[in-house]
């Protein structure tokens, strides 16, 4: 009777399931990182990974945390909410893991939020800036600032500093982009600007000629583009090719990266942005980070590397204070005041997010320079 094959095979699978977990060294302190290491956002996740690895190397070289080395468990979420939730299951069920850093996009972070909430583990996202994110669970923390802060800041920059009143918006169509757009548009309208049109694009799009042609028809003086530097480079180049030169381009701090200059070439000259992280910042912690990063990776760190670096250092600092209990870590993290991050001072509000200082930047001759006028 070959039908016995059925239960036998199923038993085999059962065994496979049981055998799946992997063992790792016992004395280390484990922190999980859920980040897009592959997929559309891989580049940003890899930035994190570089900064975090370097920070961990430094911490361990200095004797670890009270003698125990720090070990990072990376999980590739592709910034896909489903994978991010699956990783959350995995991390929270692993008793050695004391806290988690991630995820990249607001969407992915929020998908995993209920799982961390249920399990009682800190979820500290370096980049999630959706205003509704951190308040969603007592276990959620954000350190990049929220759109509620950055949007009005950028609107003021456009209207009051640059004097542009006819504005159009082109935003990435995700949680972050929509929140960015809304806070910017509301603030700009309040400040008396005229928002002529709002267009959006999906993260996978590379062709902006159609939407740029449409926006151009509205004859704006300034376009505000909440997007990432990858798309911004394409938008700038395609705008240039269409011959649309009589417009000012501006975007939030997510654009700030040496990569933008590399990818965008001449077309990004004259682009206005802001930064919470600026490599020429003379503060010693920033210089230490930038020098170390440049030595190790032969590249200048960008904002994404900066916030990840801050996240891991803040986490290490907290663990150093209270040990490895998940609850204790949360309770200590809430109290953070004036942590000296490379992206500015970190102090959590009662909503467990932070208020950032932004610097005005403009691209001049292929370089980011501080804008002061």
């Amino acid at each position: 009777m070959k039908t016995k094959m059925v239960p036998m095979l199923l038993t085999l699978f059962t065994l496979l399931l049981v055998a799946a977990p992997v063992a790792w060294s016992a004395e280390s302190i484990h922190i999980a990182v859920s980040a897009p290491l592959t997929g559309n956002f891989a580049e940003y996740g890899q930035n994190w990974q570089k900064a975090i690895s370097m920070a961990v190397e430094w911490i361990n070289a200095a004797g670890g945390i009270k003698g125990r080395p720090l070990e990072i468990v990376y999980g590739d979420s592709k910034s896909d909410p489903k994978d991010s939730a699956a990783l959350a299951q995995k991390f929270t069920s692993d008793n050695r893991i004391v806290a988690e850093i991630g995820d990249f996009s607001s969407t992915a972070s929020m998908a995993a939020q209920p799982i961390y909430d249920r399990a009682g583990m800190v979820q500290l996202s370096p980049t999630t800036s959706h205003p509704k994110w951190a308040p969603g669970s007592p276990w959620s923390f954000g350190i990049v600032g929220t759109q509620a802060g950055e949007g009005p800041f950028m609107a003021r920059y456009a209207i009051e500093r640059l004097g542009k009143k006819r504005i159009a918006v082109l935003h990435i169509n995700n949680d972050w982009g929509i929140a960015s757009k809304e806070y910017f548009v509301n603030a700009a309208t309040e400040m008396g600007a005229q928002v002529l049109g709002v267009e959006s694009y999906f993260e996978t799009e590379k062709d902006f000629t159609g939407v740029l042609t449409k926006l151009r028809g509205l004859k704006p003086e300034l376009i505000y583009v909440p997007s990432f530097y990858n798309e911004m480079a394409l938008i700038s180049k395609q705008r240039e090719k269409l011959g649309w030169t009589d417009v000012v381009v501006m975007g939030p701090g997510s654009l700030y990266s040496p990569k933008l200059l590399e990818l965008g070439g001449n077309s990004v000259n004259g682009l206005y942005t802001s930064a919470v992280f600026f490599p020429n910042d003379p503060r010693p912690e920033v210089q230490k980070f930038v020098k170390g990063f440049e030595a190790k990776y032969k590249a200048t760190p960008n904002m994404f590397a900066g916030v990840a670096y801050d996240a891991i250092n803040l986490m290490a600092e907290t663990i150093r204070k209270v040990g490895t209990d998940r609850k204790a870590i949360r309770d200590e993290l809430v109290k953070t005041k004036n942590f000296p991050g490379v992206t500015g001072k970190i102090a959590f509000t009662e909503r467990r997010d932070v208020v950032k200082d932004y610097r005005h930047l403009v691209v001049k001759d292929g370089q980011f320079t501080l804008f002061d006028k």
Partner: protein, 333 residues
């Protein structure tokens, strides 16, 4: 008796007892949330592959849009639960019904097409569903997805850990497989297979083929919707990315690797392909490559999969009858 021929019957039900016992005891042995969550995912994919098997395997209609119906089910449950506050026990059947209605709506105009054309229309539908979900922000919250879907509650107690979900999906799997096995071993299931094997002969045996094909599509999409509802209440978050063409391909790969046209095949395929990538994290970067190689290897060397009925994917749709001069005699180099 070959594995693909296995159907639970009165005289062989007892072989399932040890399996069921093992599955019931399994969570008590492993006690790991992570492993349980993998098991829960395997359970969801068992429903998805088994339901896709009704159209692609039993009826021989190649649908390439299963993830769309899965997504429709998930969104239906998510919207009903978060907006109207319906409980899981209501959203589950409703999600199935809505997905089934969509299935019928797609099937009615398109099932007159066969073979590759049907595959293409379903791909088109898949993409359209994805894009509409992404764009219709008022209903679906677009790219932001729908968070905070309440967990199922049993006797007033909401499920919290994966243990509860595990037993829930186990029960759901047993019910779904039981229903599917009753369908495929009945006059209805025979009509499906007859259509797959030879539509003209089926018609001349008095089978209303068009109506049966619609029925098969509706059954498949209904259960895809059920799987979607469970997914929504388990992940507690849905977004359009989870239901893209890649997801259809993943389900299809599981079905093909497990084997089409049998009850056992899809179960094996789903479990294997959910567990394998998790058990081989070291392959992380090459996961897609490994998936692709498995798919190609299976089609080239064992087209019936692990436990499928041989020869189904080679079945020729109407279109291939266009090239009638070929295929006769020995192949000639």
């Amino acid at each position: 008796m070959p594995l693909y021929d296995f159907v639970p019957r009165r005289d062989n039900w007892y072989v399932w007892l040890p399996v069921l016992a093992a599955l019931l005891l399994f969570p008590l042995l492993v006690r790991s949330e992570y492993i349980l969550s993998i098991a829960v995912y395997a359970g969801i994919y068992i429903i998805l592959t088994s339901s896709l098997n009704i159209t692609n395997g039993y009826t021989g209609l190649f649908s390439f849009g299963h993830a769309a119906f899965y997504g429709i089910g998930a969104y239906t449950a998510a919207i009903l639960a978060t907006r109207l506050g319906l409980s899981f026990w209501l959203t589950l059947p409703l999600a199935g019904v809505v997905a089934g209605i969509f299935g019928a709506a797609i099937a009615l105009p398109t099932l007159r097409l066969t073979g590759i054309f049907l595959a293409l229309v379903t791909i088109g539908f898949q993409e359209i569903t994805f894009l509409v979900t992404l764009n219709w922000i008022g209903l679906t919250r677009g790219p932001m997805g729908i968070p905070a879907i309440p967990p199922p509650a049993i006797g007033g107690v909401a499920l919290s850990g994966n243990l509860g979900y595990y037993y829930l999906i186990l029960a759901l799997d047993v019910i779904v497989l039981g229903l599917l096995s009753r369908i495929v071993t009945s006059r209805v299931g025979r009509a499906f297979v007859a259509i797959r094997e030879d539509e003209l002969a089926a018609q001349s045996a008095g089978i209303p083929t068009f109506r049966m094909k619609i029925l098969s599509f509706v059954i498949a999409t209904f259960f895809a919707g059920i799987a979607g509802a469970f997914f929504a209440h388990h992940a507690r978050f849905v977004s359009a990315d989870s239901f893209r063409l890649d997801e259809t391909f993943a389900i299809l790969t599981m079905l093909i690797v497990g084997g089409m046209g049998s009850l056992v095949g899809p179960v094996l395929g789903a479990v294997l392909l959910v567990v394998l990538p998790e058990a081989s994290r070291f392959l992380a970067e090459y996961r897609g490559v490994v998936y692709g190689l498995i798919l190609i290897g299976v089609i080239l060397f064992r087209p019936e999969g692990l436990a499928g009925v041989p020869g189904i994917i080679q079945a020729r749709g109407a279109l291939s009858r266009v090239d009638k001069p070929s295929g006769a005699g020995e192949p000639v180099g």
